[in-house]
Symmetry: C2
Subunit: 140 residues, 2 copies
DNA sequence: TTTAGCTGTAACATGCCTTGTTACAGACAG
DNA sequence: CTGTCTGTAACAAGGCATGTTACAGCTAAA
């Protein structure tokens, strides 16, 4: 799988916003977040847009606009971030339908569905154990 | 992550070889495996090549050539298959180095390394619980 | 020793995904 | 109103996954 860095970018952005707020800066622009992540502001807006749709951050428009946490850093887990930004499943099935005249071709997809689902659950359980507050603490 | 189907293809191929052997057919050609997976024989040769390098299958050249299990289906876990065919890590770090003048930019990579490693371990533990023999049994 | 059959791999095509970039309409605090 | 920043479209570049053709190399069997 061509691994992407969406989770990394989103966690970085959130952690930086959390730190800024602790320091008294309530609203951060996408430009300010982009400066820490070292990427383009549009990338950050896209990522924070995903987080907003998931209810993790808030946005303010107009002059003095920017982004702010919608919840305490302790109450945002990496699982929530993962769900907010990740679309693709961990493992893909066959690109073309397997040969249904073969017993394996007929039976393998439901079997793999179960296995992949268990693997996914286990990954999620692990991600749920870490919060943005944990990441922030360990960064400092 | 642009999910790929390598694990699916490799498990399918292995399971089909295991079934054929149980039915008395010792060696299968890449063409025969490709017929069940419904893809090109070269794709199968590439996948089985990975599995051969990992010691999971054997190949025979010349006339009457083909592929055969190097171990009993009970002794091949999906984790071994995963390790044999998967190159990319689950989650990628930043594509460009983050801003090291920011505390988060400086500290986040080691933190995420730990988190991602734990997630990876948990995924692997789960994949290790299923063998090719299990997949074969559930297919039938 | 020849021959036929199959592997191993290079080379290339295609399509999709990710990231980056520019541009601009829309929202809104002051 | 006005200036600032968001939301998103549009496009480009690069990379990876998959598919396909082609062919050299290996070897069991005749």
């Amino acid at each position: 799988m061509a691994a992407n860095s969406r989770l990394t970018i989103a966690v970085h952005a959130l952690t930086w916003i959390a730190l800024a707020q602790r320091r008294g800066q309530e609203w951060l622009t996408s430009e300010q977040v982009a400066a820490s992540v070292n990427t383009n502001a549009v990338i950050i807006r896209r990522s924070l847009g995903d987080l907003r749709r998931a209810g993790l951050v808030e946005v303010r428009h107009g002059a003095g606009a920017g982004w702010s946490m919608a919840r305490a850093p302790e109450d945002i887990t990496l699982l929530q971030v993962y769900d907010a930004v990740e679309r693709e499943p961990l493992f893909a099935m066959h690109r073309t339908e397997p040969n249904l005249e073969c017993p394996i071709g007929r039976g393998i997809r439901p079997v793999l569905d179960v296995v992949y689902d268990r693997a996914d659950q286990s990954l999620r359980r692990e991600l749920a154990l870490t919060s943005i507050a944990d990441v922030l603490r360990d960064c400092l």
